[in-house]
């Protein structure tokens, strides 16, 4: 069945809470870098769970604690990243 608006709002807020936790409450801070609808999983109560966080760095060559090279899925990338393909802040997820 299609999602109603109430469920959609709950999913959006829950996803934002998950990302805010990664950005602000984790040490070290985590930037997801590939947030998209197929990375938001739903449980039986339609509560959203962000998946694939922290994996961008695992797959990167010469991994260091500051990850900068652009990652993501075409269609979900911020347009600015085509010109300046480096990540400096959590705005990469927005």
């Amino acid at each position: 069945m299609p999602l109603n608006w109430q469920a959609r709002i709950r999913i959006a807020i829950g996803t934002a809470r998950g990302l805010a936790y990664l950005h602000h409450d984790c040490c070290p801070r985590i930037i997801h870098r590939d947030i998209k609808s197929s990375n938001i999983l739903l449980d039986q109560n339609l509560e959203p769970h962000v998946s694939d966080f922290g994996l961008a760095k695992l797959l990167e060559e010469n991994a260091s604690h500051v990850t900068t090279i652009v990652a993501g899925t075409f269609g979900y990338l911020a347009p600015g990243k085509f010109h300046i393909p480096y990540t400096t802040s959590p705005c990469r997820n927005l």
């Binding site: 299609p2 809470r17 609808s37 197929s38 999983l41 922290g54 991994a63």
Partner: protein
């Protein structure tokens, strides 16, 4: 190329790490389950690798993600990174339960979420069918409305 996990795990010693210690299974039982995984258990694949569904003997499911092998990073860096990810716990993050590291396969064990992903919900086949039916209904009622108004004016 199809590569079964039992082939991958069977040839070398696999290291299993479980976070939080709250899984009611022995390492042996989990490794046994991982070894049994095959192509029939695949539930998805993405940029980061293939995802399998692991069903334990008591019926509880887990999602196992096999990471596309990252050749350059060392095992220690990989494990260190996962130890950090294993510490994070939030109701809106998928819970990472543990990982299995062998020279030929790197597997991440997550909680299984039964309702799929948001993309399927938003753009799935049935959503599209409902969307089309709903719009057709609106168009037909609009045309009938125009015809009724037209007949009243005449």
């Amino acid at each position: 190329m199809v590569c079964f996990l039992n082939d991958l795990l069977g040839q070398a010693e696999a290291k299993l790490v479980v976070f939080h210690g709250d899984l009611p299974y022995t390492s042996m039982a989990i490794l046994k389950g991982l070894e049994k995984l095959g192509e029939k258990d695949v539930i998805g694949s993405g940029g980061y690798g293939t995802v399998y569904r692991l069903i334990m003997d008591d019926g509880v499911s887990f999602a196992v993600k096999r990471i596309a092998v990252c050749g350059s990073s060392s095992d220690r860096a990989f494990e260190g990174e996962l130890e950090i990810l294993g510490c994070f716990k939030h109701r809106n993050l998928v819970n990472l339960r543990g990982f299995c590291n062998s020279p030929l396969a790197k597997l991440l064990i997550y909680d299984y979420l039964p309702n799929g992903n948001l993309d399927e919900k938003l753009h799935g086949e049935w959503s599209l069918v409902f969307y089309i039916i709903k719009n057709c209904f609106f168009i037909i009622t609009f045309i009938i409305h125009l015809m009724v108004v037209g007949s009243l004016l005449v």
